[in-house]
Every structure is written in structure tokens, then in C-alpha cells.
């Protein structure tokens, strides 16, 4: 399903220097597989998800998704690809406050160049337990409810890959497990590959595969990243 080969990513620093963040020789996820990615704060977990989603671009390397190299797609093409094939659940939900729960899910469908399916949006919201909150705006919902809307939005286009970036970080402990269960069960039902980033060892322990970013990232192997001058 997904394979990362020799990917490298640095961030620019003032003065023209570059700060290398990621150097991953190989990382892959099989179809339908659920992977949790753990690592220290600031280690590059979110950056890795952003690279896979195309939100930020590689410095070098390949990203192969369903046997197709997408790392070299143009930005507009990658945007469309992401909308059509990937779902993203953000740490801070990132719901649009001016739109209702139903409209936030529909927004997830808007940019995929597919027909907007209001029926599917309703079904997804019902599945996440928000049948009676379709027309409520985020400000009128609890934190847990907002994250469930975010999950429904991420699943709107029947993605093949679901990326969840610390989805329980801002959820109260009582609802954290519900969210994790919701994501995992939905991914299982729809045979969606899942990469979840988390700090929680309790969450990580529920997954069959737990990857340590420090182990797959050459830069993180026991050393602090060193800023380098750009060539």
C-alpha cells in the first residue's frame, strides 16, 4: 500500500542553514495494516505524516502509494490525490467553525473531484454517534464530539490510507479510548490502512505493530540533529 524509500527532509533555519529532521531508508505499510508510530516530542512524527500526505514536500526520496510514485507529483496533483485517497485526523480537530458537523464532513468531499454524497456524510456521522448533531456547529459540541466529526470527515471519501496525528491528545481520558476504538474499527471495516501517531503507551499497546521513529529515522539514532549549511 505505502512505501517510503530513502526519504530525507530538512527545515530551513535563519542564515541559510538547514536542520535535517528525517532520514528514513525504508518505511512501508501494507494494505489494511494498522501501524502506530511513537517517538519523542519534536522527533518528526508529524513531519512524516505531512510528507506522506503531501502537506509538506520531500527533499529527496520516493513515496510509493499503491504502486504509484506520488512524491514527485506537482502540488495541485498531490492536493487532489490526498483529497481522493487519504484521510487525515488532526490533533486539534481543525474543524471549520462556520460550518456545521454535516458541512464539515461535506467539505471533506468537496475537493476530491467526486460527487458530494450527503447520504454518506449522514451515515458517517451516525456511525460516530452524532446523528442528532448534524446541524450543530463545533462551538456547540464537546471536544469529544468535535473529534468524532473530524474522524467522520477523514473517512468521507473512502480513503485507502488514514493518517491520525495524536487524535486523543486533546481528548479527556474518558473519551480517548472511544476515539481510538472508533478509528480502528472503522479502518478495519473499510479495509483502510492506518498510521496513527501517539505519545500514549496505552494506545500504542493496542496495536499489533508499533514503530519507533527513532529506530527508523537514521538522524534520530542516538544523536541530536545537526544544522548544516545549504550547498
Amino acid at each position: 500500500m505505502l512505501e517510503l524509500l530513502d526519504i530525507k527532509k530538512s527545515f530551513p533555519l535563519p542564515g541559510g542553514r538547514q536542520l535535517p529532521i528525517l532520514s528514513i531508508p525504508k518505511f512501508s505499510v501494507a494494505e489494511g495494516e494498522q501501524v502506530v508510530l511513537v517517538g519523542r516530542s519534536g522527533g518528526g512524527k508529524t513531519t512524516l505524516l505531512h510528507l506522506i500526505a503531501g502537506i509538506t514536500r520531500l527533499d529527496s526520496g520516493q513515496i510509493i502509494f499503491q504502486d504509484k510514485s506520488i512524491g514527485t507529483l506537482s502540488e495541485p496533483a498531490y492536493d487532489r490525490f490526498r483529497a481522493a485517497w487519504m484521510g487525515y485526523v488532526f490533533q486539534t480537530f481543525n474543524l471549520l467553525p462556520a460550518f456545521t458537523a454535516l458541512e464539515n464532513v461535506l467539505l471533506g468531499m468537496t475537493f476530491a473531484r467526486k460527487a458530494v454524497d450527503r447520504g454518506r456524510a449522514r451515515i458517517l456521522l451516525e456511525r460516530v454517534g452524532l446523528k442528532d448533531r448534524l446541524h450543530h456547529r463545533p462551538a456547540a459540541m464537546s471536544v469529544g464530539e468535535q473529534q468524532r466529526v473530524a474522524v467522520a470527515r477523514a473517512l468521507a471519501n473512502r480513503p485507502r490510507l488514514l493518517l491520525a496525528d495524536e487524535p486523543t491528545a486533546n481528548i479527556d481520558p474518558a473519551n480517548q479510548q472511544k476515539i481510538v476504538d472508533l478509528i480502528r474499527e472503522t479502518a478495519l471495516e473499510e479495509k483502510i490502512s492506518l498510521i496513527m501517531v501517539t505519545h500514549s503507551t496505552e494506545v500504542a499497546s493496542q496495536f499489533d505493530r508499533v514503530d519507533q521513529l527513532d529506530e527508523i529515522n537514521e538522524l534520530s539514532a542516538g544523536a541530536e540533529p545537526t544544522a548544516t549549511e545549504t550547498t
Binding site: P76, N94, F99, E103, L107, T110, F111
Partner: protein
Amino acid sequence: MSLFAIALRSIKQRSLASVLTCFSMALGVSLMVAVITIHGVVQDSFRVGEQLGFNILVGPKGGKLQLTLNSVYYLDQPIENIPYAYYLEFKQQADRQADYRHSLANKADQLHWELTDATQQLAELGAGSGSAGLLTGAALELLQQQAEQQDPGQRDGRYGPYIELAIPLLLGDYYESFRVVGTTPDLFGTLKIGPSADQSYEFSEGRNFKAFDQTNGYFEAVVGSIVARQANVSVGDKINPRHGAVDGHIHNEPFTVVGILAPTGTPNDRAVFVNMDGFYLMADHAKPVEETPEDERENQLVEPADEDLAAGAGEFDIRTPLPIEQREVTAILLRVGGDDPISQLFAVTLPNEINEGSVAQAVYPIQEIHKFFGTFIGPVLILLLVITLMICVVSGISILVSIYNSMNDRRQEIAVLRALGAGRSTVLWIILLESMILSVVGGAIGWLLGHGLVTMASALWVEARTGVTIGFFQFAPPIADWLPISLELLLVPLLICLAIVVGLIPAIAAYRTDVAKSLGK
């Protein structure tokens, strides 16, 4: 969801700022609409003067614009007057003869009988043959010439054969705040108006006044539609004009209103028209004969005898028209230039000939109106349009400021849209759509507001002053012949262009949003 719906929702989310921005744009557009519409009204109200059926205006020497404004639009005061005999030079023999019957120095009948008597006597003497007959014929011809010279009614006016229509105007009196115009029934009975000069005046009530009526004598009047409404005048009413000013003394002689003009949208809606002979018979309208200037006496050729003056002065029967020696006219409306080449050539040369004389001047009123517009109205309009355009630009800048200030708060929102798959150009268009919606909605409100203001002003003031009624949905006329659409219709594309220009800066900011940095902030 469509981009339009997303943009609209964003506007609603910032409702207060959006309303204020829209209001600012509405204000600018309403002013612009009002200026454009009122300019159109002013232009129309002046240009109707081009369609009143005459092409040359003759009046006393002086300012051409003043003559035009006074005689066509009944504005300002008359420059002076010109002799009635000069007016008769534009008439043909039959009309001249009818008028000269009322001359103090009328010796036409006397000379006619003298000539007829001489002819009979010669005939009885059998002097119709041979050299004696030739001499008699020459003498008769000489007598004929003398008769014609001493009786101006026996010949055509100097310009008469080439004039289709000559209508005198006598100004100076008022009825309430409205001008009283002395004239002949030809003004409404013969003169054709409209762009093709083929429309007749119509009466909403009654009929045109007559030169003489068995019941009303010389004292009949017709009023314009606005006069009838504002002064509450009806057919059958008696009205007494005031002499020389709105608050001048009231003439004793009442005129009977016999007709009310249908609205024409011309200055005639705001005037009272009285029969010329009745006008002259009102007190203080007769020129004293002893003050007749030398040049007028030369034109008359026949001086009134003292016994005639003693018999007639100050004691005219009310049904006897004023002698022409005591008449003056303020202006003469001429329709010149028929289908034949000579008349058309005459139409071009006549003004020069009149202007070279010492008595009067001739103007083309259309030219004077165009010059007036080009000199005064045009620059003022352009200035007003520039000012209102600047107001709209300022309003546009307020849109820019409003949207740009919101961009900081919306950076995460933009990043989320991008993360959901919206491309850079998509978020750019969302911002531009917001700008366009604010601009167009503000413009639409401004259009309604501007037309509302103008319609109110029309009802309260414009119609009363110009006779032009402005309907709510009446667009301003085209501003130029080369641009045959109303300027108001250009407002929509102009506003959209303005919206795009002012929305571009925040749109570019959205375009350049760093998604990774902005997510989670």
C-alpha cells in the same frame, strides 16, 4: 459544497465587518448612481429643447446662451425686445396684411382705392393702347410700387418665402411662480415636436387657445401640466398674470384657461401660454408710439397722423388688437429649411444675415445647448463622477482591509482547506469570491439606495423644476453616442473588477499560506 457557498459562509461568520463593508460600498455606489441619474435627467431636460420643432431662434442682440435659456427654457430674464415689424419680416404677405390692418399708420385701404380709382378712370378714358397706353401702364406700375412700399402688408416679409414657420414669444409676466408666454395658436397647433419633429402637442383637457374667440375674445390661455397640478388650475378658470415679476402687480385682464397640455417632459409643462393679442392688450405691454426709435420708423415707412394718435391713444376697445407700432416681441422661433435646396441653403445663410444687421441676432439653440453642456455641465459631471468613483475606491479599500485583517485569524482555516485537498488557486478564488460578493451586494444595495433617493428627489423637487419624472427603475440614459448603454449597467463589471483588485492582496496571502506551519496553531 461550492466555493461560492464557502465564501458566503465565511462572510456570514464575520457578519459585523461584512455589513459595515457592504454599507461603505453601498454609500459610494448610491452617490454614483444618483450623480449619473441626475446628470441624465439634466441632460434630457435640456435636450428636449432640441426637439421642440424649431431650428433657429431670433432675439435681440446680446448673449446667445441667455437668449436660448430664456426663450427655450424660460429661465433668466429677457435681454430686450425687438420690434414687431421685424417679426413680420419672417411672414408671408397674407399674414403680414392681416397684421398690418392693425397699424396706426394703415393707409393700405386708402392707397388701394386710390389705385383702383385711377385704374378705372384711365380705362374710361380709353388709354389702354398706343403710346398713351404705355405711359398709363408705366404710371399704374409706379403707383402700384408706391402702394406696396407704403403698405408693408402688400408684400412678403424679407425672409418670408423661405420660412416654414415663425412663432413669436412674448415674455415678462408671471402666474404664481410660472412664466407667462404670449404667443400665437401656431405654437401648439402647427409646430411639431419630438426627435423627428412629427408629433403634435396634445391636451389632457380642453383645447388650444384661439386668436379670437366669440366668448373669450383675445383672452384665452393654455397651461402646462405642472402648472395645472401645482397651481390647481382647471379648464374654465380665470387667471390674472402678474407684470414683470413673481410679485409684480396683477393685470386687470383675466385669461380663461381653455386647455391643459398633456405632459411633454419639456419646459412647456411649467409655463402658461396666452394669446398674443390678449397679452398686448394688458396694461403696460404697449410700447409708447412717441418713443419709437428712428430705425423702426424707417421700417414702417408710414408715420401715424396726429389725428390718428389723438383718436386712438389710451382708448382702445378691449376687443381691438394693439397696433403693431406698439408691439414688441421677446423672441421668434423659426423653422427653416424645407426639402428644396434653396430653403436648405437659406437655413444656413439666414443666421449670418440676421447677425450682420443691427436689430437682432439669430442662434441655433441646439448648438448653444451643446456648448452649455460641454462648457459647464460636462466638466461638473466628470468632477462629480470622479469624486464618487473615489468614494467607491475607498469603499473597495475597506473591503481589502476587512478581508486582510481576517487572514491572520483564518490562516488555520485556510490550512485546513488546503489539507482537505483544496489547491492554492482554490483558496485564492474563495477569498476573491468573498471580495466580489461584498462588492456586488454593496453595489446592489447602493443602486437601490441611489434610485430611492433620486425617486424621492424627483417627487419632491426635480419634477417640479424640470418637468421630468424619474421612475424608480429608470436607468440613466447613455452617457455618449459611442457608448449606447446606460453607465449604470457598467457598474456591475466595474464593481467586480474593483473587488478583484482589492481582494488580490488577501487572496495572495491565502495562496501563500504555509499549510504545515498553520495547521494546529
